[in-house]
């Protein structure tokens, strides 16, 4: 299956998308385009098959965020630069259940992490954060995401991946060397 990943476009076919999770389906079908183009609160990237280049098979959404330095506990402030901590939020990642098990999630996360590195190079960011469903924590952990303690027990698990770790992985993943 030849898959391409690009930014969501206005006439992409999203109505048939079904990942088995109503809020994730609803976000893609009702909010992703508006949030990206009109109110600029998140950018959505979609996976499409070459044979049906408008039908969305999977997606993820990214936004930037930052934590004001003064919000960190005093004992850590000395180890931090005198600025807010910039980060990227992987807000959503979902794969249509008809295409599950074909490596689409891996391809989407791979693209999200490569974008994170490019953003880190161009505008600066320290880490990528995601709020993972509890049953997906192990999947994210395989890629090195570390649970951030202190999340509500019945809600999603906030997870952290350092940009420095991603950069080392990128250097080690250089197949052209």
């Amino acid at each position: 299956m030849a898959v391409t990943i690009r930014r969501l476009e206005e006439f992409d076919e999203v109505e048939s998308f079904d990942c088995g999770d109503a809020p994730l389906n609803n976000y893609l079908q009702r909010h992703a385009w508006t949030n990206q183009q009109k109110i600029s609160i998140g950018v959505t990237y979609v996976a499409l098959e070459q044979a049906a280049p408008r039908t969305v098979l999977g997606y993820f959404s990214l936004a930037t965020s930052s934590v004001p330095r003064e919000r960190f506990p005093k004992k850590y402030v000395r180890g931090l630069p005198p600025y807010d901590l910039p980060l990227i939020l992987l807000a959503r990642l979902a794969v249509d259940k008809r295409f599950a098990g074909r490596g689409l999630g891996h391809a989407l996360l791979s693209e999200a992490l490569k974008i994170t590195l490019r953003v880190a190079d161009e505008v600066g960011c320290r880490c990528i954060i995601t709020d993972a469903y509890r049953d997906k924590v192990a999947w994210y952990a395989r890629y090195g995401f570390i649970p951030i303690e202190g999340s509500a027990k019945n809600g999603p698990q906030r997870m952290f991946l350092d940009v420095r770790t991603i950069r080392v992985a990128y250097e080690r993943g250089d197949t052209t060397r």
């Binding site: 930037t64 934590v67 919000r71 960190f72 992490l113 505008v123 951030i148 350092d162 770790t165 992985a169």
Partner: protein, 137 residues
């Protein structure tokens, strides 16, 4: 050659050459009469005596604008009544990153912030095999 000048140059050659001044580069520009008038008016408004000072300040301002756009920041002027205008300058737009992601607010608990600070200030973890595979290029 007058003797004073001769003497000075002798002394100069006897000094170690470690403090040689960086040579100054001459900057020349062809200006249309209207542009020349504009420069003169600006210099007068800003009470600048020399073209060098004018150029140095202009370069500093331009450099700041370029660095802001490179970080994806927009340059905005705000009037006293709160009306905002965004500076759109084609040459500056060329340096703006293609990847400008919107800003989102994230709610953090105190415990999460403490943990985040510990992770962000600590030694980065080694990448996992799955991460290295994901980053192949």
């Amino acid at each position: 050659m007058p003797s004073a000048v001769k003497d000075k140059s002798k002394r100069a050659s006897a000094l170690p050459q470690t403090r040689a001044k960086a040579p100054k580069i001459k900057f020349q520009a062809d200006l249309a009469p209207s542009e020349d008038l504009m420069v003169r008016r600006l210099k007068a408004e800003l009470e600048m005596a020399s073209n060098s000072d004018f150029l140095a300040d202009a370069v500093a301002l331009f450099r700041w604008a370029v660095s802001e756009r490179k970080r994806g920041h927009r340059i905005v002027s705000e009037s006293t009544s709160g009306e905002r205008k965004v500076l759109l300058f084609p040459r500056l737009e060329r340096v703006a990153p293609e990847l400008t992601l919107p800003q989102a607010e994230i709610a953090w608990t105190a415990a999460e912030l403490e943990n985040l600070a510990a992770l962000a200030t600590g030694k980065p973890a080694e990448p996992t095999e799955a991460l290295i595979r994901a980053m192949r290029h």
